[in-house]
Amino acid sequence: MGLALLVVIWLITFISTYFFAAKTWWLPHGASTAARFIDGQFTLTFVLMGIVFVAAQVALGYFAWKYRDRPSAPPVAYSHGNVKLEIVWTALTTILFIGLNLMGYPVWAANRWEPARPGAMQVEVTGMQFAWYFRYPGPDGRYGRTSPKLMDPSAGGEAAVGLDTSDPAAKDDVVTGSLYLPVNREVDLTLRSVDVIHSFFVPSLRFKQDAVPGLMIHMHFTPTEVGDYEIACAELCGLGHYKMHGMVHVLSQEDYEKWMAAREAEKQ
């Protein structure tokens, strides 16, 4: 029985670890400035925890086999423990866990404690059951007024976010269903939600933030590679949660400007 247990526990351990270590399913390719740091911290955590995981499971299986009861087994070592040993591993795990945690903070601070640099591109993200809308302030750099009374989700676009077209600042506001961004430029997103909590999650850009009704949350990131990235809603928002997706299109600066000019032209 001890041997069976050893084999099963070791097999589980090695198979589980294999799929992590072989990166069969790893973090998706990162395409933002934060990705490198986040992935680094993830890998570090993974290596350290992986060592502890394998060591603990291997020891568990080995002990089960080694100290199984059999006629030839030596008598048990009568002991109530060892205070010195307890202190040693308490100290070690404390250092390991706290140290590991502190190492992640520069990234967190850059992402969340510091606001976007001035001159960052402004985009407002609005979540509603079950779609994302993106609003660009236009050449004047100001968002037009929105009003809950004007919101019409079935109409989509401007009407869905309730844009008050009588406001002069709203005249050049562009509302889209996909997010278009120029590469290598910092984006300052303003996240809001009109009904329930949604979460704006772009795995490839290592970006996630809840959009909470009653709050305007500013969050910034910088895409570094041209490409199309999928958005998934990461906070249960109702029956259509699973299909509340969208796209982020990261374009070169010229392509972005062309696209934006076309949108502004449509508004006229």
Partner: protein, 243 residues
């Protein structure tokens, strides 16, 4: 080297011998033929303390919600900015003050009931000796007065609610009103529990239960009642602090 030194023969339950009765220890109440009311009282009080911790947590949680909800602004799309949506409710201070006084007085009367029955319970073993008489007891109806005062307080709170409604503040009028209704209702509900317990204690006194058992019921109820009075003073003070 560790060695096992037997100091007494191993003795299992079920052996037909009479081991010496050990002195009280651990949590054992040294069970004897006479019900140990002291232990029961201690147990009941311990249970009460746990219950009071629970009620305290409930009110701490409501208080923190009150403070947080008052302090947090939320974004209002109609006004395009962050606003604190509060709106203070003018409270009927005089009425609430009278209620507070009633509850404090009732706390004093219930203490009278608690002490009176504790005294009588202490004398009970003496009285049970045949031929011993301590003369007629003159029982001041402390408990009944407390119950009446308790109902008085509830009535007062009801009137205070009526006054709020008359001033146009309903539970959903603004968050301050919501919390005022909620906290007073939560307190009143807990207080009603105390009244029921007291009425129950009064009924048991008619049922020829031993005085020591009744004493436990009244003792615990009295402490609960003090707690309710203190809780109300806290809620009352909180209302004052929040405006």
């Amino acid at each position: 080297m560790a060695t096992y030194i037997p100091t007494r023969p191993v003795d299992h339950i079920g052996h037909d011998q009479n081991p010496p009765v050990p002195p009280r220890g651990g949590g054992d109440d040294g069970r004897s033929d006479y019900p140990n009311y002291g232990a029961r009282l201690r147990r009941a009080r311990l249970g009460l303390i746990c219950g009071m911790v629970t009620v305290t947590m409930l009110f701490i949680s409501l208080t923190s919600a009150y403070i947080v909800r008052r302090g947090l602004p939320t974004f209002d799309a109609t006004k395009q900015g962050y606003f604190r949506d509060w709106g203070e409710v003018p409270l009927p201070w005089l009425l609430l003050g009278i209620n507070t006084a009633i509850l404090i007085i009732s706390s004093i009367t219930v203490e009278g009931a608690r002490r009176s029955i504790a005294r009588r319970a202490a004398l009970a073993p003496v009285k049970s000796i045949p031929g011993v008489s301590l003369g007629d007891e003159k029982n001041f109806p402390w408990l009944a007065i407390t119950v009446v005062l308790g109902f008085g307080f509830l009535l007062g709170q009801w009137l205070a609610w009526g006054e709020l409604k008359a001033r146009g503040f309903f539970v959903n009028t603004n968050p301050d009103a919501s919390f005022i209704y909620l906290l007073t209702a939560a307190h009143a509900l807990h207080l009603t529990g105390g009244i029921i317990a007291m009425i129950w204690a009064g009924i048991t006194s008619l049922l020829h239960r031993p005085i020591e058992a009744r004493r436990i019921a009244i003792d615990v109820t009295a402490w609960y009642w003090h707690f309710m009075a203190a809780l109300w003073v806290y809620v009352f003070a909180l209302f004052g602090l929040m405006r």
